[in-house]
């Protein structure tokens, strides 16, 4: 049981991290907390469901398309809603909070209350180390998650776009002086943030089918990861994600299944008490 809890903790943790990265990215560059992050995750789930089932596309194609679609949607949202809020983090928080409710009720109207589940990529389960059976789809999700995260970090480190993002997140005005169109960059990185949520969505929706309101806990966990890891610290939120995954599962295994989801909040509050800037956050004066 311990082995399974830990394995499962890591798998869930990676997914948490993947979702949180999007939030962290947007906070870092635009100092905007996207409250509707979870709804973008859900949207991707719905898209890949639609593309795969309704349009009958190949699951992989459907997933790529969905991420693309959500990216575009994110860009539009940034352009119409977020742009006027720059510099006023609470204003953007309020706007995105309302947006999340709007999206939820829109989903309910369009897709109904039932969960929608895109097709599995793989069937069945594998016996891990002769200790326990583990769902193949989950293992697949784990690898996909790691892949996307690795890709993201590589992009940050190696490409011009990555450097642009890092530069802008440290000093917008200077970046502008170095010839970066920060408005466009904002738009793109907000889109990218949503795309990361979408990636998490398409990867996970075969395991956890999406429902209109399922985005709330997703976003919540992402926020906790970000605060835990330190606002804007990419590595921080990966570590944060893994910690949450483990804490949750071990807690459920050995303390209480009913209070499973309280553990992460407890951790959060403890961290805020001892190290407000988060595990990897730089505390600014």
């Amino acid at each position: 049981m311990l082995a399974l809890s830990i394995t499962n903790g890591l798998v869930i943790g990676i997914i948490y991290a993947l979702t949180a990265l999007g939030v962290s990215l947007v906070v870092g560059i635009m100092n905007v907390i996207n409250f509707a992050h979870g709804e973008f995750y859900i949207l991707a789930g719905y898209f890949s469901f639609l593309f795969a089932h309704t349009l009958g596309l190949d699951p992989m194609v459907a997933m790529v398309l969905s991420v693309g679609a959500v990216f575009v949607f994110g860009v539009v949202v940034e352009y119409t809603l977020i742009r006027p809020t720059y510099g006023d983090e609470l204003y953007s928080l309020i706007l995105t909070f309302i947006l999340s409710i709007v999206l939820q009720s829109a989903y309910l109207l369009i897709f109904g209350p039932y969960p929608n589940k895109p097709p599995n990529w793989v069937k069945g389960a594998t016996d891990l180390f002769g200790l326990f059976m583990y769902g193949n789809q989950r293992l697949a999700a784990l690898f996909a998650g790691i892949a996307v995260i690795a890709l993201f970090f590589a992009m940050l480190k190696l490409t011009w776009f990555g450097r642009m993002i890092r530069a802008a997140s440290q000093d917008r005005e200077m970046a502008e002086l170095n010839g970066i169109n920060t408005r466009r960059l904002n738009m793109l990185s907000f889109g990218l943030g949503c795309a990361l949520a979408a990636a998490a969505g398409v990867i996970l929706s075969p395991v956890f089918p999406v429902t209109p309101t399922a985005g709330v806990p997703v976003a919540l966990t992402a926020f906790v990861c970000v605060v835990l890891g330190g606002m804007g610290s990419m590595w921080g939120c990966v570590v944060g994600g893994l910690i949450l995954g483990l804490v949750e599962n071990l807690g459920a295994a050995y303390v209480s299944t009913g209070y499973k989801h309280v553990f992460m909040f407890v951790i959060l509050i403890l961290v805020l008490l001892v190290r407000p800037s988060g595990l990897f956050g730089r505390s600014e004066t």
Binding site: L95, M231, I269
Partner: protein, 326 residues
Amino acid sequence: MKTKWLLLFVGLAGFAVLPWGLGVYHQHILIVSLFYVMMAASWNLLAGYTGQVSFGHAAFAGIGAYASGILAAKAGINPWLGVAAGTLLAAIFGFLVGVLCLKLGGIYLSLTTLAFSEILHIVINNEYEITRGTMGLQVPGLLSEYSKLGYFYIFLCAALLTLLVVHRLIHANMGLNFRAVQNDERAAASLGVDVVRVRVLAFTVSSALAGMAGALYGHYLLLITPHIPSLDQQFLVLSMTVIGGLGSFVGPIIGAFCLEILSEYIRVYGEYHVLAFGVVALIVARFAPKGLVGISKSVWERRRQAALPAVPVTDNGKGGARRGVT
């Protein structure tokens, strides 16, 4: 000045006799509206006047409701005492949460309050023996026998009390401190403003008011459920304040009545009504961040601007900045 007070008084009197002419159904709407007035006004005290967006306001209402309800239902305490206790407990929790994260400010407060309300939810669901979980806790009423009119006047008084407290706070010297802190903490501190105290105070008071509102509401519905401290409620309160006018005294009042009545009328469209709500809130928040009040103000302003010539603000003859005609 005189006329203003007169108008206020007449308006109040008119409102106070209004329910006599209405059926129970419309009385119900009025009572619920008054509940939201309390919620929105107290949330506005926080978000509008000290710039702290709390997502836990509904949760504090929940604390008040459950504390009072449990005392009444399980320990047979008189509901009125229960309400007092609920208010107090909400204040205490508000104080604790405040102290925990107000030093962090901004986003951290929002997220921590969000976490807080989630925890509360899970606890309510799990401590089913005490809270009756989603089934809801049956609680006694405030009146010996049920009367909508009675409740209307209770809520009216409570709402007036809430508004009075808020008004005192923002117009007394403390109001200056609130706005100073919202404008620039460091400068405020350098002028002798105890920033943390000011914030914690605002947070505690507003939580207490929410607690009172929640407790009364529970004893009106005779049933306390996790819906009182839910994010949906939080959303309602937030949109009411935003649509009415964040940071203005009358804004939340207007917002609360408009949206509650509106929601009663579009309820027939079932699922659509939350959506409609959200869209309205979104549009207002995006295009008129100061809400209905802001809109009317700016219209009024423009009239005045047109009337008298803009006065140039002179500065020791250097022909410096002109007052920005915004």
